[in-house]
C-alpha cells in the first residue's frame, strides 16, 4: 500500500486492526465480517498490526515484550525459540528494557512481537519511518522469510521503490481512494507517479 502523506494509509491499517471504526462499509476476513470485532479479538482471528512508531512497552523487558505478543496467539510456527533463531541478538538482551535498543532493533522487536501471535495477516505500518537506509534494507531482507510461513503481509510504505520490490501486489492510495492496483512488474513508473500524486491524465486509474 503506497501513497503520499495524508492519503489514508495509516487510517486504513488502524481500521483493519480495529483501532478505528469505519463510517461505512465492512471489513471481512475470509468472508467473515470482522467490522464490529474489538481489536484484541481480531488478534485471535489472525489480524496483527505492527504500528507506526513501534509502540513497544517501556516497563517490560525485551522478552516480556515478545511474550505479551502471544497473549492471543493462534497455533502456528512462531514462538520464542523461533524468534530468537531469527534474531539471535534478542536472546542476548532478553532481560533488558527495549528503550536502550536502536530504532532498527526496536522495529525488529515490534515485528517479532507481532509474529508471536502467529498472524494470518500481518499489517506493517511505515516500516522504514525514521530508520537508516541500511537498517531498512536489513528489515526488508527478512520479509521473504515471513511470507514463506503462510502469512500475508499488508505493508504501508512511503518508500515506493522498496515497497514495489518486495510485494506481489500493490495498491496506491490517494485521499482515501485506491487510484491504482496491480502487480508491481505490470505497473509503469509513470502510472505509479500519476496515481501517487493524483495527477489527472490518461495514466490515472491504471490497469488494476
Amino acid at each position: 500500500m503506497i501513497g503520499a502523506n495524508g492519503a489514508g494509509k495509516s487510517t486504513l491499517m488502524r481500521t483493519i486492526a480495529g483501532l478505528l471504526s469505519p463510517v461505512a462499509g465492512t471489513i471481512r476476513l475470509d468472508g467473515q465480517d470482522t467490522t464490529r470485532l474489538p481489536t484484541h479479538k481480531r488478534v485471535a482471528a489472525g489480524i496483527v498490526l505492527v504500528p507506526e512508531g513501534r509502540r513497544l512497552f517501556p516497563s517490560l523487558t525485551l522478552e516480556e515484550n515478545l511474550r505479551i505478543g502471544a497473549t492471543r496467539a493462534r497455533r502456528g510456527g512462531w514462538n520464542l525459540a523461533r524468534v530468537y533463531e531469527l534474531f539471535p541478538w534478542m536472546a542476548e538482551r532478553r532481560d533488558r528494557p527495549t528503550a536502550f535498543l536502536s530504532g532498527g532493533e526496536q522495529q525488529a522487536v515490534a515485528i517479532a512481537r507481532a509474529l508471536m501471535a502467529n498472524p494470518r495477516i500481518l499489517l506493517l505500518d511505515e516500516l522504514s519511518l525514521g530508520l537508516a537506509p541500511v537498517v531498512v534494507h536489513r528489515l526488508y531482507d527478512i520479509l521473504p522469510d515471513l511470507l514463506a510461513a503462510e502469512m500475508s503481509v499488508l505493508l504501508v510504505e512511503q518508500d515506493v521503490t522498496q515497497a514495489l520490490r518486495v510485494s506481489d501486489w500493490a495498491h496506491c492510495l490517494l485521499e482515501g481512494r485506491i487510484t491504482l492496483s496491480g502487480r508491481p512488474r505490470d505497473l509503469a513508473p509513470a502510472d505509479v507517479e500519476a496515481a501517487y500524486f493524483g495527477l489527472a491524465g490518461k495514466h490515472a486509474g491504471g490497469p488494476g
Binding site: P51, P58, S59
Partner: protein, 288 residues
C-alpha cells in the same frame, strides 16, 4: 525509650495507611484513575463486615474472607460499568464520577444505618499485645495489619512482575492502544486491576474498623491519609506507597508524642514538604 515506642507504633500505623493506600496507588498506576470514593468503599467494607459478623456469627478476622472477595467482584463491576464509561469520555470525568460515588455511598449508609458511629467487634483481640520491654509494646491488631500490608504489597509486586496477567496489566498501563493490538483485552485487565484494588480496600476497611470507630461520613477524611501516603511514596509505585504509608504513620505518632494535637498536623507537614521538595515522590516509578 518513649521515642522508640513512638517510632515502632508509627511504623505499625504506617502499615495500615499503606494497606489502605495501595489500592489507590494501583488504580492510579494502571488506569490513571483517582478514585475519590476509595475511603467510602473502605467504610462500606467495614459496615459489610459488621453485617457478616452478626449474620454468620463468625469472628472479625474471618469476615475478611467473605468481604474481600465480594469486594473484588464489586470492584470489577464498578470498573467495567461505571468508571470505564467515564474513562472513555475523559480522564477528568472519572473524578466527577468517583466523587459522585463517594456521595452516594455516604448518603446510602446514612439513610440505611444512621449516623451513629460503629466499631468492629474484635473482642479480646483489640487490646491484646506483646510487651517487648518496659516501654515498647506491640498490639496484635497493629502487628497483624502491618504484616498484612507488607504481604499485600509483596504479593502485588510478584503478581505484576511474574505472571502473564500481571504483564498484561503493565502493558495496558504503559500503552492502552498498543496493548489491545497485541491481544490484551484492556477493559478486562482494568477490571482485574480494580478487583485487586477493591480487595485491598476491603482489607483496609476492616483493619481501620478494628483500629477505631467509624461512621458513614468517615471515608473522605481517611482518603486524605491514603492520598498522602501515595504522594509521599510516589504516584503509582507500590513500594513507594508502602514507604509513604510508614513515613506518614511515623510522622503522625512522633508529632503526637510532642503534643497530642500535633499528630495529624505533623503528617500533613511531611506531606507538604515532600510535595514541595520532591513532587514526584520518594520512589517515583510507574507500576513495574
Amino acid at each position: 525509650m518513649v521515642w522508640v515506642n513512638a517510632l515502632v507504633q508509627g511504623i505499625l500505623l504506617g502499615g495500615l495507611y499503606a494497606l489502605f493506600a495501595c489500592g489507590l496507588s494501583l488504580m492510579f498506576g494502571v488506569m490513571r484513575v483517582v478514585n475519590l470514593a476509595h475511603g467510602d468503599f473502605a467504610v462500606l467494607a467495614a459496615y459489610l463486615a459488621i453485617a457478616v459478623i452478626t449474620g454468620l456469627h463468625i469472628p472479625v478476622l474471618w469476615s475478611a474472607l467473605v468481604v474481600a472477595p465480594l469486594f473484588a467482584v464489586v470492584g470489577y463491576l464498578v470498573q467495567r460499568f461505571i468508571i470505564q464509561r467515564s474513562l472513555d469520555v475523559s480522564p477528568l470525568t472519572t473524578l466527577l464520577v468517583t466523587f459522585g460515588l463517594s456521595i452516594v455511598i455516604q448518603n446510602a449508609l446514612l439513610t440505611a444505618l444512621s449516623a451513629n458511629s460503629q466499631s468492629l467487634p474484635s473482642g479480646s483481640l483489640a487490646s491484646a499485645s506483646v510487651q517487648v520491654n518496659g516501654q515498647v509494646s506491640i498490639g496484635y491488631v497493629s502487628a497483624m495489619v502491618f504484616v498484612t500490608s507488607v504481604v499485600v504489597v509483596v504479593a502485588l509486586q510478584l503478581f505484576l512482575s511474574r505472571t502473564g496477567l500481571g504483564r498484561q496489566v503493565r502493558a495496558a498501563s504503559d500503552d492502552q492502544e498498543a496493548a489491545s493490538i497485541v491481544g490484551v483485552n484492556v477493559r478486562h485487565v482494568y477490571g482485574i486491576a480494580a478487583a485487586i484494588a477493591f480487595f485491598t480496600v476491603a482489607l483496609a476497611g476492616i483493619a481501620f474498623g478494628m483500629y477505631s470507630s467509624f461512621d458513614p461520613a468517615a471515608g473522605p477524611q481517611r482518603l486524605i491519609f491514603a492520598f498522602e501516603a501515595v504522594v509521599i511514596g510516589g504516584m503509582g509505585s507500590l513500594w513507594g506507597t508502602l514507604a509513604g504509608g510508614i513515613i506518614l504513620g511515623v510522622a503522625q505518632v512522633l508529632g503526637a508524642q510532642v503534643d497530642a494535637g500535633l499528630g495529624v498536623l505533623a503528617g500533613h507537614l511531611v506531606f507538604l514538604a515532600v510535595l514541595a521538595l520532591r513532587p514526584s515522590g520518594l520512589i517515583p516509578a510507574r507500576i513495574t
